[in-house]
């Protein structure tokens, strides 16, 4: 099959489908028509797209945790706890790392070992192994919409099982669940695999079932400049809508500087709409997702609460539709349900206190927005140019050329040439542009800002600055200043 951003051929899809459903025994449980009926019978309060639409209209910022354990009963208890004690507006099901690599045998071993020793040996819920019926048991045990969150390059079977299982939202995308999550998977491969997922969602939509799709915004979570993650979000959005997706949540991971983060949240839907329109794609519902700081956290719980709260405040002032919540255990390990609910409640307190306050439109904000818009457009226009108008083709070529480049990504299909560093106000800028297609004006803006920091710190910008920035929040700072 040749790569293109066009809608998948129905026959091709059906042929693949048989293979996909045969990858693990639970594939046999999937029956599309029956699944459509199941979804249609779900109360509106459990349908993600419906609740997101309501929130968007009312200007609400919803909360969602991350959570998943090996066994069904424990997973249900965990989610109910987060709903009841954490007040989570949306629930997740975080998938374990073996399932993410399609290693269902190892996931099975993890399930069995967890049963034997009585604690979860997996870092998430192995939904494929548990199968459709188990997923539905989960849906029926909670009151709010549930989303699949993972990091799976090839998530076709996972999507089949979980969507048939009643999940109404599916995270991920061909770039965002490849580049940060694998080493050896070509982008063309994940684009195809995710076109399958999006086409599946499109089929549900065509049958009157609303499924929300959410590209994973933060990528590697570590000093990713907004224009890079925005470019990826827009591409994945465009590719998804081409397959029939109707409801998109676009994500962005907090960088830490308020003005830059608010600017990022405000520009993200603008850019998505612009490129959807440009490519002649139909109108879809776009909402925004803000991730509290995704990089290294402080080990101390009190400090972690500070980081969490600052993320909540930024989400509220940036008017994100949803905020993904961290926990006071972040630096140390998968959180207990108590720690997870605590992170939610801290977040909610701040959101509530700020929900009626707005961040004023100022010159500084206008400048940040201008920069983000210009940079993202530069990348996206180059992608389209390289792809001769085709986003899928352009994406593969853009990664080859380093036109899109994600910092600290493990994938060998990512150029890995750019180096981000904070400026003196904590905004994430670029120290090395690699092959990003930025014009001279943009480049000198970054250079000046970083040079200013260098002067403030009395040192030349270098890789040491980047390392210091990686550690900074974990050590109680935002900007990684040299130790005095």
């Amino acid at each position: 099959m040749e790569l293109s951003g066009k809608k998948m051929d129905q026959e091709v899809f059906q042929r693949q489908r048989e293979e996909v459903l045969a990858q693990w025994s639970t594939g046999k449980e999937v029956n599309f028509e029956e699944a459509v009926a199941y979804h249609k019978a779900l109360p509106k309060s459990k349908v993600m797209a419906a609740k997101l639409a309501e929130g968007k209209a009312k200007g609400i910022t919803y909360t969602q945790p991350r959570a998943g354990v090996a066994l069904l009963q424990e997973h249900i208890e965990l989610l109910r706890y987060l709903q009841d004690e954490g007040g989570a507006d949306f629930l997740p099901t975080t998938i374990d790392s073996y399932t993410r690599q399609n290693r269902y045998n190892e996931a099975q071993a993890g399930i069995e070992e967890s049963r034997t020793i009585g604690r979860s040996m997996l870092n998430g819920f192995p939904a494929v192994n548990h199968g459709v019926t188990a997923c539905r048991r989960l849906m029926e045990s909670v009151q709010v919409p549930v989303q699949v969150r993972h990091g799976t390059p090839d998530a076709r079977l996972l999507a089949e099982v979980t969507l048939a299982g009643g999940f109404t939202d599916f995270e991920g995308g061909s770039i965002s669940y490849n580049i940060p999550y694998s080493k050896d998977v070509p982008i063309a491969t994940t684009i195809k695999h995710w076109q399958y997922v999006d086409r599946l969602v499109g089929l549900y939509e065509e049958n009157g079932v609303k499924i929300n799709r959410e590209p994973f915004g933060p990528l590697t979570g570590t000093l990713v400049p907004p224009s890079i993650s925005h470019a990826v979000a827009v591409i994945e959005g465009v590719l998804a809508v081409a397959q029939g997706v109707q409801s998109l949540s676009l994500g962005y991971g907090q960088c830490g500087n308020l003005v830059q983060d608010v600017a990022a949240l405000q520009t993200l839907p603008v850019l998505a709409e612009e490129y959807l329109h440009k490519l002649g794609l139909s109108d879809v519902m776009i909402t925004t997702v803000f991730h509290q700081w995704m990089g290294g956290f402080p080990q101390d719980e009190a400090k972690a609460y500070g980081v969490i709260s600052w993320g909540a405040a930024t989400a509220a002032l940036g008017k994100a539709t949803k905020v993904i919540v961290k926990t006071p255990h972040e630096a140390l390990g998968i959180p207990t349900k108590e720690a997870n609910a605590a992170g939610l409640r801290t977040t909610k307190q701040v959101l509530n206190m700020l929900k009626d306050q707005t961040f004023p439109q100022t010159e500084e904000l206008a400048l940040e927005k201008k920069v983000i818009l210009a940079e993202t457009r530069a990348i996206l226009d180059k992608v389209l140019e390289l792809g001769e108008g085709d986003m899928a083709l352009g994406t593969v070529r853009a990664f080859q050329a380093g036109v899109i480049d994600v910092p600290f990504a493990p994938s060998r299909f990512n150029a890995g040439k750019i180096l981000p560093a904070r400026d003196t106000t904590g905004a994430v800028r670029l120290l090395d542009f690699g092959n990003l297609p930025f014009d001279e004006e943009t480049k000198s803006f970054h250079q000046e800002r970083i040079a200013k920091r260098g002067r403030d710190e009395g040192r030349d910008p270098s890789f040491q600055m980047v390392i210091d920035d990686i550690y900074a929040i974990g050590k109680g700072m935002l900007v990684g200043r040299p130790r005095p």
């Binding site: 790392s97 073996y98 993410r100 690599q101 290693r103 190892e106 071993a109 993890g110 070992e113 604690r119 979860s120 040996m121 997996l122 870092n123 990091g151 940060p180 999550y181 694998s182 080493k183 050896d184 590697t220 570590t222 990089g295 290294g296 080990q299 255990h329 630096a331 140390l332 390990g333 998968i334 959180p335 207990t336 720690a339 600290f408 990504a409 493990p410 890789f463 390392i467 990686i470 974990g474």
Partner: protein, 137 residues
Amino acid sequence: MEQKTLILGVIGADVHAVGNRILDYAFTQAGFKVINIGVLASQEEFIQAAIETNADVILVSSLYGHGEIDCRGLREKCQESGIGNILLYVGGNLVVGKQDFAPVERLFKGMGFDRIYPPGTMPDVPIADLRQDLGLV
């Protein structure tokens, strides 16, 4: 002084790449020869790299919580491969969840690791240990 060779990698289905990048940089700066096999590395890849380069130490990272499962049997495989005495270090967020470090350390000692590091260890700690264990001080 002769340059010592280290095998560095992140074991199992783990993709956490940031710490790996920093360790690579820090060990190199400290004068070691670093063979970085990156993320998603299997036990076999660690051993093969060690044999090929006649390495002195294997440094295993595991961040994502499956370290306990992924690291089991590594010492035995080393023995089978004829590098049974190679130094084995391991660090990261080794188990699922926030746990006391003492039992985690015991667990990995029991698996045959020589040094076990708690979450958030800064590079200067293993560098000092390496110098000591390799007789560079």
